[in-house]
């Protein structure tokens, strides 16, 4: 690629400094998603709620998937249950290959929408469908917090 070539279109310019500890892929901070990651950086979990029809959705979009209106934001409790999951035992990609085995789950939030995440702070054998989990956040950089899930306190 020559020096004059434009950067790949998905790379946002002038990104904040990345945390040296965070080696995983990062969000590109697009128009729809920036607020979600920023909220997580403040320790808040948010999903979208449509002011027109009330539909709640995740991931964030510029339009409601039901009626097409512009969605607003809804603060969530940070509690949910494991809807389904897997234990990843082989992944050759860095940095995940150094973290095996780990749990990837789809968590159903109390508010309704589902999101993918990792269930941490417990043996992988303990994770099961229907397991109550609560959110915690890890800081990827100053603009990006990333939700993780741990067993909910009894």
């Amino acid at each position: 690629m020559s020096a004059e070539a434009p950067p790949p279109p998905h790379v946002a310019p002038e990104l904040p400094a990345e945390s040296p500890e965070w080696a995983r892929p990062l969000p590109a901070l697009d128009e729809a998603g920036r607020e979600f990651w920023a909220a997580a950086a403040r320790g808040e979990l948010v999903v979208q709620e449509c002011p027109a029809c009330g539909h709640r959705q995740f991931y964030p979009r510029l339009a409601c998937t039901v009626c097409g209106a512009t969605p607003g934001w809804l603060a969530c409790s940070g509690r949910g249950v494991v809807h389904t999951f897997t234990v990843i035992r082989q992944n050759h990609a860095k940095p995940f290959r150094n973290e095996l085995p780990y749990v990837v789950a789809v968590v159903e939030l109390e508010e309704g929408p589902r999101m993918m995440g990792n269930v941490v702070d417990c043996p992988v054998e303990d994770v099961h469908i229907g397991m109550p989990v609560s959110v915690e956040f890890r800081q990827a950089d100053e603009a990006v917090g990333v939700p993780f899930w741990r067993p909910a306190a009894r």
């Binding site: 998905h10 990104l15 995983r24 969000p27 697009d30 897997t86 990843i88 035992r89 992944n91 860095k94």
Partner: protein, 395 residues
């Protein structure tokens, strides 16, 4: 279908390029070799082709995108389709091609695919990771990539949910791989031909719970080509035409975190439409060629297309119906689980269906096969395309 007899859509020619490992061919080379073999198969001249379909798939400067391939192959098309739904693209292509033929948009359509992924990239695609460390991810995948889900892991989450809801067992999933391997033993080109038992599958390494290594398809090179034309044009060609009796596709999501119900695919929408067009029932079908990216893929498609009830797939597999000598033989070329999986396998499902309906399957021939279903799954159980093919013209 109310179509004039002359414009009834048929698959007239089929060609597969060298597989499972073909270091002498690059992706475009697979397209070309498959085209040459398909034209030779049916006896049509390349100059008679007036339409082209391709899904691309190679990411190097779009070398095999539909428009690039049409130029490269020298097809001055008057109808083109570049639908890309992942592995099921080719079932969607047949849906579109059949409509175009009926409509009179074109007379002879070439569909091609090719991949050199094994020779070029090796065998870690399923768990090689989609993104680099600290790569900035745009779009919906930014909400998945930070968590290290693999391709296998995505399908594993569907399997886990099916086991939870319906009591499906790992041994039932394994039985799918065992049955397909029996057919691979009859295919000299199949990647794996050793006998396989349920215990072999269950003893193989766990990749992403509950899917073992042998619940996963192989990674191979390969390509294929189809010629779709009118029944009338096919009368002058070499092979007995295979009729497109029904073809339908549907999508429920793209990314795995968005799957509405992890136990139900869009096959539940596409299947009944394709059967309805054909005027047949699942119980009428003689052989099925289903996308077996993973054992769970087949199980879900069986249920969603109505070959058994929802949640009954495990017992249906255990009945032996899908094995050689059973009532509904599955993947008679050895499938993706044992024979070949060059990135996107949907064209192979159609090619094998045609081979069966022509009675050219040799030792793997299903006796008296007159109706076959090819069902492709693309993405992450996302886009399902179903094609009903028959030996006889639609009534």
């Amino acid at each position: 279908m109310t179509t004039s007899a002359s414009r009834t859509p048929v698959i007239a020619g089929v060609g597969l390029s060298d597989y499972p490992k073909a270091p002498h061919l690059d992706s475009v080379g697979h397209h070309v070799q498959a085209m040459q073999r398909a034209l030779d198969d049916c006896g049509m001249a390349k100059a008679d082709l007036d339409a082209y379909v391709g899904a691309g798939g190679s990411h190097d400067f779009r070398v095999d995108d539909a428009v690039t391939m049409a130029e490269y192959l020298g097809i001055n098309h008057r109808w083109i389709d570049s639908t890309m739904t992942g592995g099921s693209s080719f079932e969607f292509h047949i849906q579109h091609a059949a409509a175009a033929i009926r409509d009179g948009q074109c007379e002879a359509i070439l569909i091609t695919y090719g991949s050199d992924q094994l020779s070029k990239m090796g065998r870690m695609l399923g768990t090689g990771g989609f993104a680099r460390s600290r790569e900035r991810i745009p779009g919906p995948m930014q909400y998945e990539m930070p968590y290290g889900c693999t391709l296998v892991g995505a399908y594993a989450m569907a399997a886990q949910r099916h086991m939870h809801q319906y009591g499906t067992t790992p041994a039932q999933l394994a039985a799918i791989a065992v049955g397909v391997r029996e057919y691979a033993q009859l295919n000299p080109s199949a990647m794996y031909r050793d006998p396989l038992t349920v215990d072999d599958v269950l003893d193989s390494r766990m990749i992403a719970d509950p899917l073992h290594k042998l619940d996963c398809c192989v990674i191979s090179d390969g390509g294929g080509a189809l010629v779709v034309t009118t029944e009338e044009r096919a009368r002058d060609l070499r092979q007995r035409p295979v009729y497109v009796l029904g073809a339908a596709g549907a999508q429920t999501h793209w990314n795995i975190s968005q799957m509405p119900d992890y136990t139900v695919t869009a096959g539940s929408l596409a299947g009944p439409r394709a059967f309805g067009q054909a005027g047949v029932q699942p119980s009428d079908i003689d052989t099925i060629q289903f996308y077996d990216s993973f054992t769970i893929t087949v199980l879900l498609l069986l249920e969603d297309l109505g070959f058994c009830g929802k949640g009954e797939g495990g017992a249906f597999v255990e009945s032996g119906a899908l094995r050689r000598g059973g009532q509904l033989p599955l993947n008679t070329d050895g499938g993706g689980l044992s024979a070949s999986h060059p990135g996107m396998r949907g064209l192979f499902l159609l090619a094998e269906s045609v081979r069966q309906l022509r009675g050219q399957a040799g030792e793997a021939q299903v006796p008296d096969a007159s109706l076959a279903v090819a069902c492709g799954s693309g993405g992450w159980l996302s886009c399902i395309g179903t094609v009903v093919l028959g030996q006889e013209r639609p009534s």
